[in-house]
Amino acid sequence: MRRVLAHAGLTAGALIMLYPLLWMISASLRPNNEIFDRPGLIPEHPTLGNYALGWSSTGTSFGIYIMNSLIICAAVVIGNVLTCSLTAYAFARLTFVGRKTLFALMLATIMLPAHVTLIAQYSIFRKLNWIDTFWPMIVPSFLATDAFFVFLMVQFIRSIPVELDDAARIDGCGAWGIYRRIILPLLSPALVTTAIFSFIWTWNNFFSQLIYLSTRTRLTVPVALRGFLDATGSSEWGALFAMSVVTLVPVVVVFVIFQRRILAGMAHTGLK
């Protein structure tokens, strides 16, 4: 009896959480004038017109925006996973001059509001002639600039027993070998977390993509989605919701695939 009650409560909670998402899907299937008319979930005159409209209405196929976003996301994921783990390894395991100061400096960059560095960054990228290219989004991730991930991995590596390093050293591993053969495999849960968050955050990152990209065929999904809304004119809500649904698909897919990996990763970390 208690289980039934618990399940009923949980189901109700889940439905409440899901309602906005379901509403969006339902709205994407309605003609424009019906969207704000009724609060219910079942469209009266369901149509796929919004999908066709949204896909092509900007004059550039929405597929191009998705492709651009995927390219940037893939590069950022690779960059963050490779370089943040390497940096974290150095901070956690190697001794070098100024380690503590540098670590503190790195943490300080987390606390710096993005707006403070925005214009300086923009100037640098302009001097490099990288405005209106993907480089301003991609290159920083290959320089381990995302201090949050570095910090996450430093903490994780600190929890790995140093004895494993010592054992590897006796077997003839250098610093690089220890990173490659010991740390990286044990780090996989943190790597997966980094990959997922890098992907989702980059996929949804509107501001820098707005600032740095201009040419229509180079725009990304969040920037293109905003194009359906404009305070000074009529907004294409139907097309917006339809393309939002489309946009969700890659995120959900990535999450579902990687979630299994997280669990697998968890299982591997246990010391035997």
Partner: protein
């Protein structure tokens, strides 16, 4: 290996960085960039006009666009990063900020042909004696009225619009005779409509140098009181309803709950598709019947050239083309507002029954009857715009009174203006 010390390495690194940076510094200038804000139809229309520019032998260009709110984030970053587009669309709300920070070029010597433009529009971008922008459109404030709905409710619509007193009377009658509807949406927070009301009280809203609010506290209070009375009489909706009916699709007129809406004249084309019967464009209410001197005709969106532009001549030619070329005019239609020249209006208003043609006719009828057009909105205008709305909302929710609200606004203006 001893020679390869840490210091040499650092030096090498610095040299490499310099080597990478220097070619960037000299600046590959690239083609002229054109940038604007607006919804998708605006972008499509301008792209078509730019195609016409290219096929008539115009210089290379690249186009950028963004929705209104995002555009300003991007333009501010580009401007401070010394990378502003050459030709840019500027709104009067931000014009003084950019012109005052010398981000815009003086167009005086660039020879843009503005001879065909309405005089007030051609001069819309003049600040401190220099011309920083050319108006894209001739627009004025207006109300769009669903005459069919009003006739069904037994009301009549005066040809020149209402006086404020008659308007209140009408709104009360309408709300009384149509179940669940309001005579008007609540406009208490509409700063731009208030500017017309303030001018009907004898003064411009701002002093010529933009440093002071000329409108008195009494006028502000009277305005807030006017709408509070309409809300109390149920002639205008309560604040919680107004809060949920922002945006064109959700507006009371689109959902049939009010017979009229206020806005800049060209926006009637956004409301018309959502209302079944044709919308009539009327002047906003007046103090004295038929006296329209509170209103003005002005270009509120401008074409500007950034001060740092490397292609000022081409940019000037392009602006001239967009204003005067027949193909460009036809491509743009009334998407940027009612066209600013007689020639363009005649070219565009061919489709006589459309909302666009009614908007054009409204502006032409108004010319000669309106008052002198005010100076460009001062620095800090954006802050007053949002502040006014916030104060009106507090009054609407009963957290403040018209008197206290008026004082709050006057204080805000004192702090914001003349900085």
């Amino acid at each position: 290996m001893n020679t390869f010390s840490r210091r040499t390495l650092l030096g090498l690194g610095a040299a490499t960085a310099a080597a990478i940076t220097v070619p960037g510094c000299s600046g590959k200038s690239g083609p002229m960039r054109v940038s604007w804000y607006g919804p998708d139809p605006v972008t499509k229309a301008l792209n078509k006009a730019l195609d016409a520019w290219k096929s008539s032998g115009g210089a290379e260009y690249s186009a950028e666009s963004a929705p209104f709110d995002d555009y300003w984030d991007k333009l501010a970053t580009q401007t401070s990063g010394n990378n502003a587009p050459d030709v840019l669309r500027m709104s009067m709300s931000y014009f003084s900020d950019y012109a005052g920070r010398s981000a815009l070029k003086d167009l005086g010597s660039l020879g843009i042909d503005t001879s065909g433009l309405d005089k007030d529009v051609a001069a819309s971008g003049v600040a401190d004696g220099k011309n920083y922008g050319v108006g894209q459109s001739s627009i004025s404030y207006s109300m769009y009225v669903d005459e069919g709905a009003i006739k069904n409710a037994g009301g009549t619509v005066p040809a020149q619009g209402w006086t404020w007193d008659k308007f209140a009377e009408f709104a009360r009658d309408y709300s009384g005779s149509v179940q669940g509807a309001f005579g008007s949406s609540d406009q208490a927070g509409n700063f731009q409509l208030f500017e017309v009301y303030a001018r009907q009280h004898g003064t411009e809203m701002f002093s010529d140098d933009g440093g002071k609010l000329l409108t008195t506290k009494e006028t502000v209070q009277e305005w807030f009181q006017y709408w509070a009375d309409l809300r109390n009489a149920k002639a205008a909706p309560p604040q919680n309803v107004s809060g949920e009916t922002t945006g064109i699709e959700k507006s009371l007129i689109a959902t049939g709950k009010a017979p009229l809406q206020f806005g800049w004249v060209q926006q009637v084309t956004f409301y018309q598709p959502l209302v079944k019967s044709p919308l009539t464009v009327l002047p906003v209410p007046q103090g004295k019947a038929g006296d329209l001197t509170g209103q003005f005709v002005k270009g509120l969106d401008l074409w500007c050239i950034s001060a740092a532009s490397k292609h000022p001549e081409d940019a000037a030619k392009l602006i001239g083309f967009l204003l005067n070329d027949e193909k460009a005019i036809k491509a743009i239609g009334i998407l940027l507002g009612v066209p600013p020249s007689k020639k363009a209006r005649d070219l565009v208003s061919a489709d006589a029954g459309s909302a666009g043609a009614r908007a054009i006719k409204y502006v032409e009828d108004l010319a000669g009857k309106v008052g002198p057009s005010p100076k460009p909105w001062p620095k800090g205008y954006g802050e007053l715009l949002t502040g006014f709305d916030r104060i009106a909302e507090n009054i609407g929710f009963g957290k403040s009174t018209p008197a206290a609200g008026a004082q709050e606004f006057v204080d805000l203006a004192g702090k914001t203006l003349g900085q």
